[in-house]
């Protein structure tokens, strides 16, 4: 605090509280909608205060068939699919990026820089710009409607490799020298020294990648045709379409709530790691 200006402080708090309200309003309305019965949700204006149907809606959404009159997998199944996809993407990305960063930083071998640039290219080819041909590759490999098809094509990541490369470069050379004197081979050095030293970076990256994986939309939309493989994030869109005929906003909003709770929880609970991960991977 540079000078004492009580009025300006009050204005600051007022603006920030207003900002928080704006940011939180959509979620509040979602939550309120998820606590009312379907009949109340068809009358305008919609309520702004919670009703008493939270648990009924919760049970119907999670274990019932979701929307009545549509054919879809139960919501718990979709949550499981989303969780599997998010975990496979984040663990896969971390594993292959650690390995390739290790190779590029600690080994001298022909085509080292060639591999480095090849990995760099992935930064320039987000899934959105190569949708059709990537879809064809996955279809040819028979990976449609499987967890492998959902996760592996998204696993290669230049940012994660760069980040680990950066981390490894800051580790002093003496570490490797002393490890070699003690008779540790490359894999031993990697497993017992590099991994423990980059633990917080791995955790920070995991937070970011979990959110990235959980929130994937276009890719699962293309490669899952069986209802058993749909993810929770995808299902919202199908529900919105169904809502045009028979609106059941209480169920739709409960599903939306369930779909956003895991990633939001991860961000809020691991805020410090999240901020670290965000600033490290993007810079």
């Amino acid at each position: 605090m540079i000078e004492n200006r009580p009025i300006l402080n009050m204005v600051s708090h007022a603006v920030l509280i207003f900002g928080v309200i704006i940011v939180a309003l959509p979620i509040w309305i979602t939550f309120v909608a998820a606590t009312h019965d379907p009949v109340r949700m068809t009358q305008a204006p919609i309520p702004m205060l919670p009703g008493g149907y939270f648990w009924e809606n919760f049970k119907q959404t999670l274990f019932g068939g979701g929307l009545s009159g549509t054919e879809s997998a139960p919501v718990w199944r979709m949550l499981l699919n989303s969780l599997m996809m998010a975990l496979m993407i984040s663990f896969g990305k971390i594993a292959i990026s650690l390995l390739s960063a290790f190779a590029i930083v600690y080994f001298k071998f022909p085509f080292r820089m060639g591999f480095f640039w090849l990995i760099f290219i992935t930064l320039m080819l987000p899934v959105e710009v190569r949708i059709l041909p990537t879809f064809e590759v996955v279809a040819d490999l028979g990976m449609l409607n499987s967890y492998w098809g959902l996760s592996i094509p998204l696993i290669a990541s230049a940012t994660a490799t760069f980040m680990f490369r950066q981390v490894f470069l800051t580790i002093p050379d003496e570490m490797l020298e002393s490890a070699r004197i003690d008779g540790a081979g490359p894999l031993r050095f990697f497993w017992d020294i590099l991994i423990p030293l980059s633990r917080t970076n791995i955790a920070a990256l995991f937070v970011i990648l979990f959110i990235y994986g959980w929130n994937q939309y276009l890719w699962p939309l293309l490669i899952t045709t069986e209802t058993d493989m749909t993810t929770i994030v995808m299902s919202i869109k199908q529900m919105l379409e169904a809502a045009e005929q028979s609106p059941q906003w209480n169920i739709i909003m409960m599903t939306a709530l369930l779909a956003m709770i895991p990633p939001v929880f991860v961000v809020v609970a691991m805020q410090r790691l999240f901020v670290q991960g965000l600033t490290e991977t993007d810079k």
Binding site: M1, I2, R5, L8, N9, H13, L16, G19, V23, P26, I27, I29, T30, T42, A44, I46, M48, L99, A103, I104, V105, Y106, F107, K108, P110, R112, L118, I119, T122, L123, M124, L125, P126, V129, R130, I131, L132, T134, V137, I152, A156, D173, P186, L187, I211, N215, L218, L222, V233, M234, I236, M253, A256, M260, V264, V267, V268, V275, L278, T279
Partner: protein
């Protein structure tokens, strides 16, 4: 790049890079080259024969008014999203930076929309603005606005801009706050001693000092608006009404998967690739260097 002390050459490093390189080749390089190849082909309506046509797909796009319109619309959309979410974030970060107690609480309350999937953000906003039920059309009716984004193109555009900007405020806020907190306090104190009030200090000191962040965020927000907003558009408007909210990424998807115009969709993919490459180059080469004080 390489450690001064390193392991000798062996088969091991090749095995270590193999997983990433194989995935990159199979799912990135090969599909991208296929997209480039297909962009030179025209397939007849039944998919029986294809013809190699060089740049015909591209010249068709260059003269296609619908495509050019989509291009302009995408730029308009991106600029609106970036300006709206960045200025909101700048304002909030500026006030949060002043506050000694409670700044972290505000940060916690402001950052979580980052974790909400774009398609969910779209669903929330479409519900709030639902013409028959939504809370905002109900309020807007009192000031004489008949909100209907299913029929009115500019309403639809505004809605997707709001949803996209809302989701991005968290990210921009985080980076602005970090940048402001890394400004040396002595600098701001010196300005205060010289008689600069809070507003003056903000515009003459803080804002110029965070301009590298502003530039960085401009690039990031542009990439976000171009590519990551597919879910919002798909959930809220499906590109409609009458293509009023069709942006480039949505058109690639729509022409390729719904319209089955493979050559045209591939040509659009190639144009998008060039755009991503340009943005990546700008991000890497100029962001850190050009704006410096």
């Amino acid at each position: 790049m390489l450690k001064r002390v390193h392991f000798p050459t062996s088969l091991l490093p090749y095995l270590l890079v193999a997983p990433q390189v194989i995935i990159t080749l199979v799912f990135f390089v090969w599909p991208a080259s296929q997209a480039v190849y297909q962009s030179f082909l025209i397939e007849d309506a039944f998919g029986i024969s294809t013809e190699f046509v060089w740049f015909e797909n591209f010249s068709y796009l260059a003269s296609d008014e619908q495509y050019l319109g989509t291009f302009g619309r995408t730029i308009f959309f991106s600029v609106c999203v970036a300006v709206l979410s960045m200025s909101a974030a700048l304002l909030l970060a500026g006030f949060a930076d002043r506050i000694v107690r409670g700044a972290t609480t505000y940060r916690t309350l402001l950052i979580w929309p980052y974790a909400v999937a774009p398609v969910l953000a779209g669903a929330l906003w479409v519900f709030m603005f639902n013409p028959t039920l939504g809370i905002f059309p109900y309020i807007l009716e009192f000031v004489g606005i008949d909100w209907n984004h299913y029929l009115n193109g500019s309403h639809a555009m505004m809605l997707v801009i709001f949803a996209a900007a809302w989701k991005q405020i968290a990210y921009n806020f985080l980076f602005y706050l970090a940048a402001m907190q890394s400004i040396p306090r002595s600098l701001i104190e010196a300005a205060a001693i010289d008689g600069a009030g809070p507003v003056r200090r903000f515009w003459d000191h803080i804002f110029p000092l965070v301009s590298p962040t502003t530039f960085f965020l401009l690039v990031i927000n542009a990439v976000y608006a171009f590519f990551d907003t597919f879910g919002i558009i798909h959930a809220v408007t499906q590109g409609g009404p009458a293509n009023a909210t069709t942006i480039l990424v949505y058109k690639v998807y729509n022409d390729g998967f719904v319209g089955l115009d493979l050559g045209g969709s591939a040509a659009q993919s190639v144009i998008l690739m060039v755009l991503v490459i340009a943005m990546t180059v700008v991000q890497f080469r100029y962001v850190e260097r050009k704006v410096e004080y």
